[in-house]
Amino acid sequence: MNQLVTIESADRRFGWFMSAPTLALLLAVILFPVFWALFTSVHDYTLIAPDFDTFTGLQNYFSALRNSEFRHSLGLTAFFVFVVVLIEFVIGFGVALMLNSVNRFKPIYYGILLCPLLMNPVIVGLIWRMFLHPSLGIVNYLLSVVSIEPVNWLGSTNVAIWTIVMVDIWHQVSFMIVLLLAGLSALPKEPYEAARVDGASTFKAFRHITLPLMWPVIIVTLLIRLIFAGRPGDLDRPCQLFHLSEGVRQPSCR
């Protein structure tokens, strides 16, 4: 009870009155464009004739959905987001679990993991274009060493989407690792000792203790990644894609 009420309530009320106007203004400034976007989306609105007498309801959404190119884009985006986040999660959780059992040099691993995240996405695109060049790239060279036919990583439409998925994973998986690792290191240590004495194998401890305790972190991590991966043009994908391949043009950067 003492912890909850640390400031005298009169003081708190005073502080509240002082900051309320500023906060209200701030929230208005932040929210207005958001609502504006929603508002215009249900009106027949152009900059040339900005009047709202023609409420069109979900008309704009329907016409977009009737457009087959848009549907194709939407499908590709959904597929891309789902695949990228799923693979990143599996790799990320695995690596996070491994790193969590390492006690020494943790800052070094964090540093290495953050490298791709900090890299300029333009450079990421250029570098991977070099690596994946059909005839001159190092990847096809390595494949030829083990006698595998060279792959047209960026030219073929079927392959290109997977190439993009791979590069995106390379670039973003660290984000997942770092978040999950933070969650893992915040788990209490004691239940694991209790489980060991209770007779739990490493797998059972993972299944019955780590997973249930990590649920909140897992869900938040997946949500964040889904939101970011689902924002076309966000983070770095558009330009990275653009630089990766002129074959797969990015609509938002056209």
């Binding site: 489980a195 007779g199 739990a200």
Partner: protein, 371 residues
């Protein structure tokens, strides 16, 4: 049920810190053994090595007759109650209790029977559906104990399980654990830093300091015959009064103990062993309860005149803090009957029961042999 034997156990951490040094201890089958010591003395590390949560650097650990140094904790058939209880935070009380049995593939009806019986014994069956975060400290403690009990292991290891409880609950749990031990007869190793727990609960006490065993024995034996000043100072509250002094030969095998204003002549039948130490500096140990106001209260009393510094009136008794005066002015604490009062500076004539005197060598801190 099984005995637990430690033979020259050492624990050295990779960074070179030695936590436990050459510990040998025989814990008998069914015994209630206390590991007592200040924090950092290695008692918890010793317990965790028995549990298998810490590796043993060298030495042998036997449970029953099997060397278990390299046996997985799950296979040692011991249960441990942790200081912070270490309950599974996401499981209900029922799941916490049955998890260990489920892992071992025990039959569900058997699990339910055992959990039910244990929960009733501890009075936690109304809490089955709660999560640990919804329990009070005492309830968590009971669930942690229950989780250990349902396993019906060969031995229980208790790592200061009472230290997070308040005084009333701690006293109640103390009695309950003693009764539990009496009814189950299982070997119990109990780590604590509380001398009251040690004195009342244990069949034997093993006192540790700096990773080594200082003394092992029955509570009253350790209390009456501490091997050194560390044990003497640790085992009571208020602790034994330790005064710097020296011994003089008083002839005929008797010795004279001198410390400030105190001068006791110890007759030869009490002091055979002391006389060989005559002329050397010693530490004199006087327990606070061995002082009396009348000289007939015990045989061999000798007068001690002190000056009251303060009195602590506890209700059931009074602690007199008094100065022995002289050059080596030192304060002693004396237990007095509950109606005793003295104002600061007042002279008080006390009588000490000389048969209870402890004399320690100042150089080695070890007790001088009495005989």
């Amino acid at each position: 049920m099984a005995s637990i034997t430690l033979k020259n156990i050492n624990k050295t951490y990779p960074n070179g810190v030695s936590a436990v040094h050459d510990v040998s201890l025989d814990i008998r089958d069914g015994e209630f053994m206390i590991l007592l010591g200040p924090s950092g003395c290695g008692k918890s590390t010793t317990l965790r090595m028995i549990a298998g949560l810490e590796s043993i650097t060298s030495g042998d650990l036997l449970i029953g007759t099997n060397r278990v140094n390299d046996v997985d904790p799950a296979q040692r058939d011991i249960a441990i109650v942790f200081q912070n209880y270490a309950l599974y935070p996401h499981m209900t009380v029922l799941d916490n209790l049955s998890f260990g049995l489920k892992l071992r593939g025990v039959d569900p009806t058997e699990i339910s029977r055992r959990v039910q019986r244990t929960a009733e014994m501890l009075g936690i069956h109304p809490l089955f559906d709660r999560k640990p975060s919804q329990l009070s400290g005492g309830q968590r403690q009971r669930v942690a104990l229950g989780r250990a009990l349902v396993r019906e292991p060969q031995a229980f290891l208790l790592d200061e399980p009472l230290s997070n409880l308040d005084a009333t609950l701690r006293a109640a749990m103390r009695t309950e654990l003693i009764k539990l031990h009496r009814s189950l007869g299982t070997t119990i190793v109990h780590v604590t830093h509380d001398q009251v727990e040690a004195m009342t609960m244990g069949e034997r006490i093993c006192i540790m300091k700096d990773g080594e065993i200082v003394q092992v024995g029955e509570p009253m034996d350790v209390y009456r015959n501490p091997v050194n000043t560390f044990v003497a100072g640790f085992l009571a509250s208020p602790p034994m009064n330790l005064l710097a002094g020296h011994l003089e030969d008083a002839g005929d095998g008797a010795v004279k103990v001198l410390s400030g204003n105190i001068a006791f002549t110890i007759p030869s039948h009490l002091a055979k062993g002391f006389s060989s130490h005559a002329g050397k500096p010693v530490t004199i140990g006087l327990r606070s309860e061995d002082f009396y106001l009348s000289n007939g209260a015990a045989k061999h009393t000798v007068p001690v005149n002190v000056e009251a510094v303060t009195t602590e009136v506890l209700g059931s008794e009074v602690i007199l803090v008094a100065s022995t005066g002289g050059n080596a002015a030192a304060e002693i604490q004396v237990r007095m009957p509950r109606d005793f009062r003295a104002s600061p500076g007042e002279k008080v004539a006390l009588h000490f029961d000389l048969s209870q005197i402890q004399v320690f060598s100042t150089t080695t801190t070890r007790a001088l042999p009495r005989i």
